[in-house]
């Protein structure tokens, strides 16, 4: 076996589900191929970390003063413009490993927005003065700005994962995904514009958070479609 092991084969090796003959060939290749051996080690480390990861991490109560101090220290936050969804989604250099962590990205990002909503509900408002246009500013909860940044970062990562998966997806699947992403982006643009007009509207914030969650979920699912 001269060719490198596929991602699926590596997973099967780690899961110990290969047939005996295939497993023997895979082991022989791993013994002589530093590249595959390294990828296997990385995969095992990732799986071990995932297995050790807590399912839920409630923030300690004593952390809040520090969080509040950090928020107060930066009241002026530039609000990033919504990145237009590119007709061709972002480039991505690596392989489908991203799909393994896609669900984690969704969870982290989603929880950050929920946290923002909850904090906004339970704590005194921590406003941030946001530059919307030159000469115009608007005040929104700083937690919301941070949460949106987190979402946008996650969207970019998952878009990259989807781009990597693109060659493995059918034209029909890509069409469905892009059509629905367009609907989501239009909804986000509309909700976000409304939020800038009415920054204290918590219901609007929760609706926007839900739409962001839908986008992350759709990107995750699309990227994962290519993995088996």
């Amino acid at each position: 076996m001269n060719e490198h092991l596929t991602w699926e084969d590596l997973n099967d090796v780690v899961d110990d589900v290969l047939a005996p003959d295939d497993a023997m060939r895979a082991r022989a290749h791993l013994a002589s191929c530093a590249h595959c051996s390294h990828r296997r080690a990385e995969l095992e480390v990732t799986l071990a970390e995932v297995a050790r990861a807590a399912r839920e991490i409630p923030p300690p109560a004593e952390a809040w003063p520090a969080v509040r101090a950090e928020i107060e220290s930066r009241k002026v936050v530039p609000l990033a413009g919504m990145p237009a969804r590119r007709a061709s989604m972002a480039r991505f250099a690596s392989g489908r490993r991203w799909t393994l962590v896609a669900a984690g990205i969704v969870l982290v990002a989603a929880s950050s927005f929920v946290t923002a909503v909850v904090m906004d509900r339970t704590q005194p408002a921590a406003p941030a003065t946001v530059a919307v246009d030159p000469g115009a500013t608007i005040t929104v909860p700083v937690a919301v700005v941070d949460a949106e940044r987190s979402y946008l970062a996650s969207v970019q990562e998952l878009s990259a994962a989807l781009e990597a998966a693109r060659p493995h997806l059918s034209a029909q699947t890509i069409e469905i995904v892009e059509r629905n992403l367009a609907l989501i982006d239009a909804a986000i643009t509309e909700s976000r514009a409304a939020l800038l007009r009415d920054p204290g509207n918590r219901v609007l914030l929760e609706v926007l958070a839900g739409t962001y969650r839908q986008k992350l979920e759709l990107l995750r699912r699309a990227a994962q479609l290519a993995t088996s």
Partner: protein, 299 residues
Amino acid sequence: MSRLFTCLAIVMLLASPLGAQQPTERVELRRAAARDISVRISGTIGTLRIIGSPAESLVVTGTIPRGARFDGFDAGKGPEPLRGAKMFVDVPDDRVLASGTLEMRVPAGARVWAKAGIATIEVTGLTGGLDLNIVGGSIRVDASPRDLNIESMDGTVTVNGNPSWLRVKTAAGDIVMNGSSEDAAFTSVSGTTRVGGGRFDRARLESVTGAIEFSGTPVRGGSLTFDSHSGGITLRLDPGAGGEIEATSIAGTIENQLTRQRPGTGRDGRGQELSTVIGGGGAHIVVRTFKGVVRLETR
């Protein structure tokens, strides 16, 4: 772990009198199985029927496209009943369409994971766990698995049953659920979601543009949450149901036929809001939409 079967497909070209159907090959597999066996099946499958049965065996029969490869591995040892099996249908190239029909009989308590592209998946009699994933086609579950997770891009999803834990996610596919659940979540971007018939302890229904219709019964102390961007949200509740309803349409309207209370104007003079109590209270019901129309009706 050993190979469950190696190209067990018996080459048998099924003559098509009309010559329009794709030639197929026959598949047959029969093994004793543990009652809680885990089974994974994926690949290019036209129709997959999953049947939970009292028999402690795994039986896969049917046809696959000619030229396709049906392969699998088991997690059994010697003559012991299988505890796990992994199967897939592989096609040599994209020209081979997903066709053929596989019928998979598993012990009712099995955990089954199935993933296909454009496919029809039908499930009956399963009480264990079920995880289904398709791009297009349809999924129909007439069963009450303990856990039920379904993801579909464009395919429609129909669930008739009472899974304790239920998650359904689609992009454009419509969702229909008839039954009850202790913990349910339905998410669609543009598909219509219709949920009704039974009792729900916790349920969350979310869409972006798709309409949401709910006609179930909230459980006292439970919670129901409905979110959409522009999709209309219709709640049809039993006259005897109890709940506190908080409804908001930020830029849309609310039509309330459940109580005499009239919705008020929303923040900044836009949209409408309504807080009302039915049946002396009970469940916590939250309805939020950006510009969808909210309708509260008696069932």
